[in-house]
Structure formats: C-alpha cells, structure tokens
C-alpha cells in the first residue's frame, strides 16, 4: 500500500497536494512482518538423513582433511534443522540430538589423541612440541567446527543450559588431555625445566613456552596446575642462590647480580608468564635475594663500598632495598649513620692529625653529601642521619674541633690566601660554617675566632673587609645577635678609630709634628676584644713622644677615660740604610723595632743586654730574636748559629743583607698563635663556662627549692649545650655551697636546698 502511494506521488503531479492530505487523514501504518521461513517443514527423519553427512565432514575436519561434502551445503542443512519450529516434538528435539551427537564425536576424537601423548617421549622438549602442535591443531579445528555449527550455537545452545560448541570442545580437551595427571605432569615439569634452563642462561624456545602457558590459561589450569609449582621452584632456586652467593660474591657483584635477576624475571613476565603472577614472582625474588640478607649485606662490606666511593653500587643497594619496604631502608640508614660515626670519630680523635682535621672533615662531608644526593636520591631521612651522626662524632672530642674550625676560617680570611676568588671563598666559608653548626661548644669557636679576628683587624692582615663582613653576617644568622655583638663591636672600634685618626691629623697640623714619623692608632673598647696581658717594655724617646701626643689628643676629646697601650699588637715601619745606597723598609712588630733600633748605637749586643735595655718579657723576646735571626729573612746574625735563642747568644746586624723587594714584611710572628695565647683563650672559655654552670645551677635551685643530686645533675645537663663532665659540675656545686647560694639538706646529704 505504501508503495502505491509513493508511486502515485511521483507520477501524478497535479494531485500531489490533495492526495498527500488524503493519505494523512486515513493514517496508514508501516508494519514489519516476520521474515517468511521456508515453507518446507523438514521431515521427521531429516536428522537421520543428514547426520551421516555431518559426521563424515566432522571426522574429516578433526583429522585435518577437507570435508568431502560442500561446507555450504552442510551449513544449510544445519541451519534448516535448527531454525525450523514445528508442533512435532520429534522435529523440535532434533537440535538437541545434533548437539549430543556432536559431543559424542568430539569425545571419541579427543580420546584418540591420548595414545600419542601417553607414549614414551623421553625428550621433554620434544614432548612439549608434540603437545603444542596437538593443541594448535585442536584450536584451528575447533574454530572451523564452530563456524560450521554456528547456527546451532545461536539457536539451541542459547536456550538450553549447555556450553557452546567452543567451550564444549575446550572442556573435553581439558578433561581428557590436560587433566590426565601423566600428561599434565609431563607438561608442567617440561615447562619448569625450560624455565630453569633459561635461568641458567641457556636460550630456550620462548614461543613454545608462551603458547603452552597460553593453553593452560585458556583451559583455566594455569592457576591450579602451573602457578603454584612455578612459584615453588622459583622460591627454592632463589632461596639457595641467595644463601650461597651472599657468601661467595663480593657485595657489589652480588648487588648487580640481584639487579640482573630482577630484570630477567620481569622480562620473563613480559615474554611468557602471565601478568597475574607478576607480584608474587617479584616478591619471591626480592624476599629471597634482598630482604633475607639485608643485615648480612650491611654488616658484610657496606663500609667498604663507602670507603671506596662506590656510588653506583650503593645506589643499586638503595634502589633494591627500597623495593622491600621501609624496614630495609631503615637498616640502610642506620648503617650509614654508624659508618659516619665510626669513621668520623677517627678523624676527630687523633691528636697527631690535628692540622689536617678540618680539611679531612670537609672532604668527608662532601663525600657523604655526594652519597646522599646520588645514591639516596636526597632522601630527607638520610640527610638527617648524616647531620645527626656528624654532630655526634664531632662532639666526641671537646673543644679542639671548634678551635680548629675557627683557625681554618682565619686562614681563609687572612691576606696571602691566594687560593680563592671571592666566590670560592664564600663557598668554602659556607662549608666551614656547616661544620661549625655541628659543634656544641660554640663558645670555644667564638673565643678563637675573636682572637684571630682581632689580629687580622689590628695587624692589618685581613684579606678583604667584605669577606669579613659576610662571615660576620653568616655567624649572626647562625647564632643570633648576642653571639656576634662583640664581634660587631670590634668592627665598630676599627671604624671609629679611622674617624679619630682623621681628626688627629688635623690636630697635628696645629701642633708641632714630630720629625716626619707617620702615626696611626686603633683605640679599642675593652669589653669587645680579647683580653691581652699587660706588658711593659722600655720605649725609645721618639715612641714615648708619639704616644704622649696621641694620648693628650684623645683625652681632650673623651673625658673620664684613660688609655693603655698594647705593645704586643703595635707594629712599625722602619727605614734602614743598609749599605751605601740600598734603602729598605721593614714592616716589623714593635718588639722587633725595639731590638733593631738598639743596633744604631752598638754593633754587637748580647742577649742579656737586649733584655736589659728593652725589658721585653722573656718568651716574647726569644720569639722576637728568633724571627730576626733564625727566620727566612735574617736581619741579625747570631753567634753561635742555631735554631734556638739562648741567653748567652751574641747578636749583630747582618750587613750583607739582600732582598729583591724594597719593602719587606717580617712581622708575621705577631700573627702566629703562641702556646700561651692558646692556653689563655681556652682558659677563658673554661672560666666562662664555669659561670654558665653556676648560673644554671642557681636558676634550677631557685625554681625547685629542694632537689636531689641526681635530679639536679640531670637538669643541668639538659640545660647546657656544651660537653661537660660530672666532676666539673660537682666542683661548681661545692663552690656554690661555699658561697652560700645553696646548702645540703640536714636530713640527707644527697639533697640540696636553695638559700634565698
């Protein structure tokens, strides 16, 4: 009908409008009707007729031959058989009959495969190949048959609760072949043998492996038959391998071996083992090769790895341990910390190596930093253990490291330090500062730093004011205002002295200037600077006059003060007419000047006379004479010639003195630290610490009123940062009891009471 209307619309032009209106008014519907099934209902014995044909074809396919009947025809028969519906029960049951018969054929066929697979094939590899080819044939043929019987699959199988043809085929294969314990064992053992061969380094047929494992997976036998045995054999292998190799191999070799094994197993998964086994497999390898041996690896030769700077091995170690979880990493971290403590202590503790200590510490630190960055991927926890361990060992020796770090800084900041540009200098100062950060007794550092800074500033040996200021700033950032306030005061004094000197020069213009002698003076504020011993010496008149002029000037500007000259820090420029024309200038210390000026009057002077006429204190005078007569630059001759100055030596001017420079510095002796200076600096720190201990004890007692000895000790130790011994604290307590800050309790000698 619809077709008619369309035809009319196309042909009839004028009636177009009318007719379409008309048709919409009668509302015609499109109706889809079922496809007409073939009119022929198959006869009741249709199945019996076609089955022999089908069976013949099936057997042909199953045996790998071409079907004798045309497959198209067979397909139509099956189609006909399956799609016909009828009231006749016999006809309706035909598909199920077909299915059952099909099953029977499969069943029979698969059983014919058994003898081959049960026969003796000694070579397990050959056996696997046979199995593989049977499986492959089975697959190809199953597919062909499924295609042929696809109508059965889509009609009967859909409604009846039976497996489809493909599954049926697989089920049968599984049941008869792979669930046969002999075949299954031979197959699985064969596979395991191949894997073992590959693990030994031989090449195997990976495609064969892959196919058969695929087969096991397809037949749902992988998890049951293969995987447990595979994992078990893996476990056994690596368990033994781990135990023997950790004994025989060197650690770095062992580590790379483990790395290689892991890589191989991962490849194995990629190549043929199923992904689902990955976690378990890798876990087994990690457990047996790494986790079980962590302690042994660390105790065995971890230290040697670090000693020998084997960054790559340690990096591998870290990566491997990281796989096994936090425990291994913790152990590694501890081992790293212990290494630092043990080896660092060696650097610090040896008295004979003091001059190299700081350099070695810097080197050690740099090396360890390298490990943290390169091997431990800058893991924060490793950075922390590095710091903690450094702090631990560097404080194992009290005071000396702090002193030596201060001196190292001094050496870098002095003039004549040619090693560095400004940037390099900054860098090395930063590094030294890092070491300084680990030191508990910062007061020792401060004392020595201050002493050296004073010399640099006063004797004019500071390499650069900028570097000095930047170091000061660093210390300030590190330790706060109070720590550096005195150091800043020193800089302030130097600035102030410059102002004073400009004023002084103007002042000199108005007064009679002493015969062309230049003069500059640094005026120090007592509290900022290290305390210097007051020494006396007899000065020649020109010196006295200069000092007087300056003192008068200074006191006129600042009332209520007095000036004390520090002879050990004074230095002079001397002009010497050696021969006819050779004029030289010498930078000398005041003491050196005093000695040299004596030779204007006499040619030969004995030690005793020098001592008599200058009154320089004994050790200083000896040092001064030594610097003039026994150093590199010899202005004086000494009789007898020797390295040490004795009290009956005779001195004379070295008239044959020659030097290529005009201006010569021989006052380095002033910069050198004398043993007395060193001990007095340390002594002062000790005194300061006594005061701090006293203060801490009094503070604690004031809050607690009564406290047992043990408790008091514990509190004191927790409050004070520097290393202190119990005996010192005990002495301080005794002293405080004596001074009546506290007393022993009347009831118990072990309890103290605060005295208000």
């Amino acid at each position: 009908m619809a077709k008619d209307i369309r035809n009319r619309n196309v042909n009839g032009t004028s009636s177009n409008f009318f007719s379409s209106q008309n048709s919409s008014m009668t509302t015609k519907k499109l109706v889809i009707k079922n496809l007409k099934s073939s009119i022929l209902t198959p006869p009741a014995d249709y199945f019996d007729k076609i089955w022999p044909l089908l069976k013949q074809a099936l057997e042909a396919i199953l045996n790998g031959r071409n079907s004798p009947t045309n497959e198209e025809q067979l397909y139509r028969h099956i189609d006909h058989l399956c799609t016909t519906t009828s009231t006749n029960e016999a006809i309706n049951s035909q598909p199920s009959l077909l299915y059952e018969n099909l099953k029977g054929v499969f069943d029979d066929h698969i059983q014919t495969l058994l003898p081959t697979l049960l026969s003796d094939i000694n070579d397990s590899n050959g056996y696997l190949r046979v199995l593989n080819s049977i499986w492959n044939d089975h697959l190809v043929r199953s597919i062909l048959i499924r295609q042929l019987f696809i109508v059965l699959d889509r009609t009967y199988v859909l409604h009846a609760a039976v497996p489809n043809i493909w599954e049926l085929n697989q089920d049968l294969f599984r049941r008869y072949i792979m669930q046969n314990s002999i075949i299954s064992n031979r197959c699985v053992n064969g596979l395991l043998k191949l894997i073992e061969q590959e693990r030994r380094g031989e090449t195997i047929d990976r495609t064969l492996m892959k196919n058969l494992i695929r087969m096991l997976i397809d037949l749902h036998l992988y998890k049951k038959d293969f995987e447990p045995l595979f994992l078990q054999s893996t476990e056994e292998l690596y368990h033994n391998e781990g135990r023997t190799l950790i004994q025989t191999l060197e650690l770095s070799q062992y580590l790379s071996h483990v790395e290689r094994r892991l890589h191989e197993e991962q490849l194995r998964i990629k190549n043929y083992i199923d992904q689902s086994t990955k976690l378990q497999l890798i876990h087994i390898v990690e457990n047996n090769l790494i986790a079980n041996h962590i302690k042994q690896m660390l105790s065995k030769s971890f230290d040697t790895l670090i000693d020998e700077n084997r960054l790559s091995s340690v990096a591998v170690m870290y990566d491997l341990f990281l796989r096994t979880g936090p425990l291994g990493i913790n152990d590694l971290r501890e081992a790293f910390g212990n290494y630092i403590k043990v080896h660092g202590r060696v650097l610090v503790i040896d008295v004979d190596k003091d001059d190299k200590m700081v350099d070695e510490l810097l080197e050690f630190k740099e090396k360890l930093d390298h490990f943290v960055h390169e091997c431990f991927h800058s893991n924060e926890k490793f950075g922390n253990i590095l710091k903690d361990s450094f702090e631990f060992f560097i404080n194992q020796r009290s005071n000396k490291p702090a002193e030596l770090i201060a001196k190292a800084v001094d050496a870098r900041l002095r003039t004549g330090n040619k090693e560095a540009t400004e940037e390099e200098l900054e860098k090395i100062l930063d590094k030294l500062l890092i070491l300084f950060r680990f030191i508990h007794g910062k007061d020792v550092f401060e004392a020595f730093y201050k002493k050296d800074l004073a010399k640099r500033l006063l004797v004019g040996k500071s390499a650069s004011v900028d570097a000095e200021k930047s170091m000061l700033l660093k210390l300030k950032q590190e330790c706060g205002n109070i720590f550096t306030s005195k150091l800043e005061g020193m800089f302030k004094d130097i600035e102030l002295s410059k102002d004073i000197m400009t004023a002084f020069e103007q002042y000199l213009h108005g007064h009679k200037a002493p015969e062309n002698i230049g003069m500059s003076v640094c005026v120090l504020t007592m509290g900022f600077w290290p305390t210097y011993p007051t020494v006396t010496a007899i000065l020649p008149p020109e010196f006295c006059r200069l000092q007087e002029i300056f003192t008068t000037f200074y006191l006129s500007k600042h009332t209520g003060r007095k000036l004390q000259w520090q002879y050990t820090l004074d230095h002079c420029l001397l002009k010497g007419w050696l021969k006819q024309k050779a004029v030289k200038e010498f930078h000398v210390s005041l003491y050196q000047a005093l000695v040299l000026l004596l030779f204007n009057q006499q040619n030969d002077v004995t030690y005793k006379d020098i001592h008599e006429q200058t009154k320089i204190v004994e050790p200083e005078l000896k040092r001064t004479l030594q610097s003039l007569a026994c150093g590199k630059i010899r202005l004086l001759n000494k009789k007898p010639m020797s390295k040490d100055v004795n009290s009956d030596d005779l001195f004379s001017l070295n008239t044959s003195f020659e030097h290529k420079l005009i201006r010569i510095k021989i006052n380095q002796v002033q910069l050198k630290e004398t043993p007395e200076e060193n001990s007095s600096t340390t002594e002062r720190v000790v005194q300061d610490r006594h005061c701090q201990i006293d203060a801490a004890i009094v503070r604690i007692m004031k809050t607690r009123k009564t406290l047992s000895h043990a408790q008091l000790m514990a509190e004191v130790f927790s409050q004070l940062k520097f290393l202190l011994s119990t005996s010192v604290v005990k002495i301080r307590i005794e002293s405080l009891i004596e001074r009546e800050y506290m007393k022993r309790s009347a009831e118990s000698a072990n309890v103290y009471e605060y005295v208000a």
Binding site: C522, L524, G527, E542, Y554, G560, R561, L574
Partner: protein
C-alpha cells in the same frame, strides 16, 4: 747601617677612670656598658660623686630621678653631688 722609625701603628685600649670595677647599681663592669646600652661610650659615661663613688650615668640618673626629696648616693647615703 742606620735604622730609623718611619711609621708607628699603635694599639691602645681605653678604659674609664674609676675607683671601682663595676657599677654599684647595675652590677655591670664599667668596661662593659650599662644594661640599657649596647656599647660602652660617650653616650653613657661614668659619673663620679663627691663621695668618691662612681656609677654609669644612665644608672645614677635613673636613681636620682626616682628619689622624692634628697638626692642620696645609693652606696653611702650621703648627698649625691657629681664631680664635673
């Protein structure tokens, strides 16, 4: 051979002229500053009284200004008159 002094670079330490080591009020050494100042210097000199006692200027002025009636030396309770 003749040797002559050409230049003299001296170092001197200044101290307050006092009769005592430390200030009787703040107990700080005179060589250090009083508790209010960061540095010792002319902003806070040492004042001497007629009674021969001396104090940081800041310390004694604070004391004197706190006194209601008579200005007394905190050490000897005599009348405080500072020497020029």
């Amino acid at each position: 051979m003749r040797i002559r002094l050409k230049e003299f670079n001296g170092v001197a330490v200044w101290k307050w002229v006092t009769n005592d080591d430390s200030c009787g009020i703040c107990r700080m050494q005179f060589d250090a500053s009083c508790s209010e100042c960061r540095y010792p210097g002319d902003q806070c000199p040492v004042l001497h009284g007629e009674c021969r006692h001396c104090f940081h200027e800041h310390c004694i002025m604070k004391w004197i200004n706190a006194q209601q009636t008579n200005k007394l030396c905190p050490m000897c309770r005599g009348e405080w008159k500072s020497l020029p």
